[in-house]
């Protein structure tokens, strides 16, 4: 590793963070939202813009930028204008602690996963701001639903991660990845210990809670397009709507990164020495592949299921997921002490 001046390193890490938030969002939207959705619904999806419609997203972004940025007459202008930025800020804060290689990290916090789960709730504030400031009934209902949902699903998310933390013995994301690389499953260390194998229940709960945190169907009550038009985003247009859109899919990508760091071994693949410098270069690519795998699951459910009703959604969180994740913590704790 070449030693860099602190300020050079900081600039590199900042630029890397920007790329890590924005770059995965494009492929995720194109591959899953445009193409996979179309094929599952016996359509073709975009075909005209660029080869196989790959540039469609750029066309869409261009369209949104050109559109008028409309403020409703009764809107609370300052709050209305700031809301999308708050949502996007949450995505940027979230990516900080994700490791992409042995040395390719932005901030190596000892309380990494704790920080990530804490800042992921910042988006609730943005969504509530949008819902309130729009001065629209649909937005208000959507904002309140979103707040209720995100707070309810924050708990199973945290509790599902607890199992991983107990097994890894650390909150540091980098160390969690290393714990998977160097771990062994009941004495068998050939493939390390990706926590998806030993924490499968935790992984399932994490995925469900993540789906809800991202407000993807079947948990899209806050934006339920057949009843609330688009929920808290109803009154937004132009570039601010685009920011919400980027925020939604960038957050999806980052949650995918966190899921793959926690459960799939992050930047590491079995058979290679985790200390090798190779991972600083390959890491982001490996991470991206794993993110795509996680996103495939997310979007598969998205296109297959109808949406939960608000009360059913809360019931699932409080009556099923939270007890299950508590059970998971107890079992993990007992096994950790026993072995």
């Amino acid at each position: 590793m070449i030693a860099l001046a602190y300020w050079v390193e900081t600039i590199f890490r900042s630029l890397g963070g920007l790329a890590a938030v924005l770059l995965p969002a494009g492929p995720i939207v194109y591959i899953f939202l445009f193409k996979m959705m179309s094929f599952m619904q016996s359509r073709l999806g975009p075909t005209e813009a660029g080869p196989a419609g790959t540039l469609q997203l750029i066309a869409e972004v261009g369209k949104w930028i050109q559109k008028e940025d409309i403020f409703p007459r009764k809107a609370d202008r300052l709050v209305f204008a700031a809301a999308p930025f708050v949502v996007l800020a949450s995505s940027f804060l979230l990516v900080l602690v994700v490791p992409f290689g042995p040395d390719a990290w932005f901030v190596n916090l000892d309380t990494g996963i704790y920080f990530a789960l804490a800042v992921s709730s910042v988006s609730v504030i943005g969504i509530l701001m949008a819902g309130w400031a729009s001065a629209s009934k649909y937005s208000m209902l959507g904002g309140l639903r979103a707040a209720g949902q995100l707070i309810a699903y924050e708990l199973p998310l945290v509790l599902a991660v607890m199992g991983v933390v107990i097994q890894a013995g650390t909150l540091n994301m980098q160390d969690i990845v290393l714990a998977q690389a160097e771990g062994e499953i009941f004495g068998f260390g050939g493939i390390g210990n990706p926590f998806i194998l030993t924490q499968f229940l935790g992984f399932v709960i994490f995925m469900i809670a993540m789906q809800a945190e991202l407000t993807q169907p079947p948990f899209d009550m806050p934006v339920a397009e057949s009843e609330l038009v688009t929920g808290y985003m109803t009154e937004y247009s132009g570039i601010r709507f685009l920011l919400f859109f980027i925020g939604e899919f960038a957050t999806a990508g980052i949650f995918g990164m966190i899921a793959s760091a926690l459960f799939l071994g992050g930047w590491w693949v079995p058979g290679l020495d985790p200390d090798s410098n190779l991972f600083n270069i390959l890491g982001p690519g490996i991470m991206m592949a794993k993110v795509m795998g996680v996103m495939f699951l997310v979007f598969w459910f998205r296109f297959t299921y109808p949406r939960f009703r608000e009360d059913q959604l809360q019931q699932l969180a409080w009556k099923v997921l939270i007890p299950l994740s508590l059970v998971n913590i107890v079992i993990t704790g007992i096994l950790k002490v026993a072995f």
């Binding site: 016996s42 169907p217 009843e227 297959t304 109808p306 949406r307 009703r309």
Partner: protein
């Protein structure tokens, strides 16, 4: 079933009164939500004024008439054959079925009868428009509860049916094909076999939807026990078609009061009912209707007789003075035309009884006390077409 639901409603009103007292003390007020006339869920211009307490509906009222086109009055200044062009557009997803009862009423007044082949083709097209209509309704229900995929399957497979309707009538949506005394044209070559293939596609679609949508736990959670219509309430509001059969009323005009001129008695089919009366049972009965429709069409295609397709009618049609009411089982429910003729070229008065008007009229009763998401599920399961409400 009635007693419980009425007592439930009473209890609900009590709760509301108690809540209202609390609300006066802490000064929270309800919210009035205007669903529509421009709203994605009403697929048209129905407006529902819902008074909400949080997410719960305290009172709901449908406002109709945004699409009133005055077809009953317009029919009075058109000759009898011209009226079919208008009434085609009442329920635009199953248009041929709109023409049938009017033509049958006119035939009844003129005392002519379409030749057997025309009667068979008429029945086939009537059933095919039911299939096309109900398939779309099933897919649409998916969208209402948040699953986008089924509607694309519905659009894809409905096209097979619409292609066949187009092949014989020349129009996908507005065939305008029925004539007093028969049909405009005979079937094109190869149509019978192609239609049989299309019906197989329809049955495939039913299997697919049954596993993708109806078997889905979330779909069931969203629809089972929601929007229950008891038998007598349904009858009191004049519901018809699938909406009343799903409440356990075994009544189908095709079987029980078939008007002269359709040949449903020549084939083997079944009327499905469901005891529950909730959203799920309505959608379940709809799916079975599509299956039965495909069965009816295939059987009729196998035994279609040869012969002329037009009876002897004068070139300029003057309908003798008299009154006739003919109703048929249309995709959305019972549709009837009350036609009065004074012996002129034009009908003196036409009254259209369309199913959706009654089906939507139950909403104030049905939506009381449900949650906002359930409004959408209930409206989707009642399945109305705006043109059929407003005429």
């Amino acid at each position: 079933m009635t007693a419980t639901s009425e007592s439930e409603q009473l209890r609900y009103i009590d709760q509301q009164a108690a809540d209202a007292r609390v609300n006066v003390e802490i000064e929270t007020e309800g919210m009035t939500l205007n669903l529509g006339p421009q709203h994605p869920a009403t697929h048209g211009t129905l407006r529902i004024i819902a008074k909400l307490d949080g997410e719960q509906v305290v009172a709901a009222e449908p406002v109709m008439g945004y699409m009133h086109r005055g077809y009953e009055k317009l029919a009075e200044v058109r000759t009898f054959p011209q009226v079919t062009t208008l009434i085609n557009r009442i329920d635009w997803t199953g248009s041929f079925a709109n023409e049938t009862p009017f033509i049958l009423a006119a035939e009844k007044l003129m005392e002519v009868e379409a030749p057997p082949r025309a009667q068979y083709i008429r029945t086939i097209l009537h059933e095919m428009s039911r299939i096309a209509n109900v398939m779309l309704g099933i897919g649409d229900m998916g969208v209402q509860v948040g699953a986008v995929t089924p509607v694309f399957f519905a659009f894809r497979d409905r096209e097979y049916v619409l292609n066949q309707i187009e092949a014989v009538t020349g129009g996908r949506f507005h065939p305008n094909f029925d004539r007093i005394g028969g049909l405009k044209d005979d079937l094109p070559a190869g149509w019978i076999q192609n239609t049989k293939n299309a019906m197989e596609k329809v049955e495939d679609f039913c299997d697919q939807i049954e596993t993708l949508m109806y078997g889905n736990e979330l779909f069931q959670a969203r629809t089972r026990g929601i929007g229950i219509i008891p038998k007598d309430i349904g009858l009191a509001y004049g519901l018809s078609g699938v909406n009343i059969r799903a409440s356990g009323v075994d009544w189908d005009v095709r079987r029980d009061a078939m008007p002269h001129g359709l040949v449903y008695d020549q084939v083997d089919w079944k009327v499905y009912t469901h005891p529950d009366g909730d959203c799920y049972s309505r959608m379940w009965v709809r799916l079975q209707e599509v299956r039965e429709g495909a069965k009816i069409v295939t059987q009729l295609l196998n035994q279609i007789p040869s012969g002329p397709i037009m009876a002897k009618v004068p070139r300029i049609i003057k309908v003798p003075a008299g009154e006739a009411f003919v109703e048929t089982e249309n995709p959305l429910g019972v549709m009837g035309y009350y036609v009065i003729s004074k012996g002129d070229l034009n009908p003196y008065r036409v009254k259209i009884r369309s199913a959706s008007f009654n089906n939507v009229s139950i909403t104030p009763w049905l939506l009381k006390g449900v949650y906002v998401p359930d409004i959408i599920a209930i409206l989707g399961s009642l399945y109305f077409i705006l043109g059929d409400i407003d005429r």
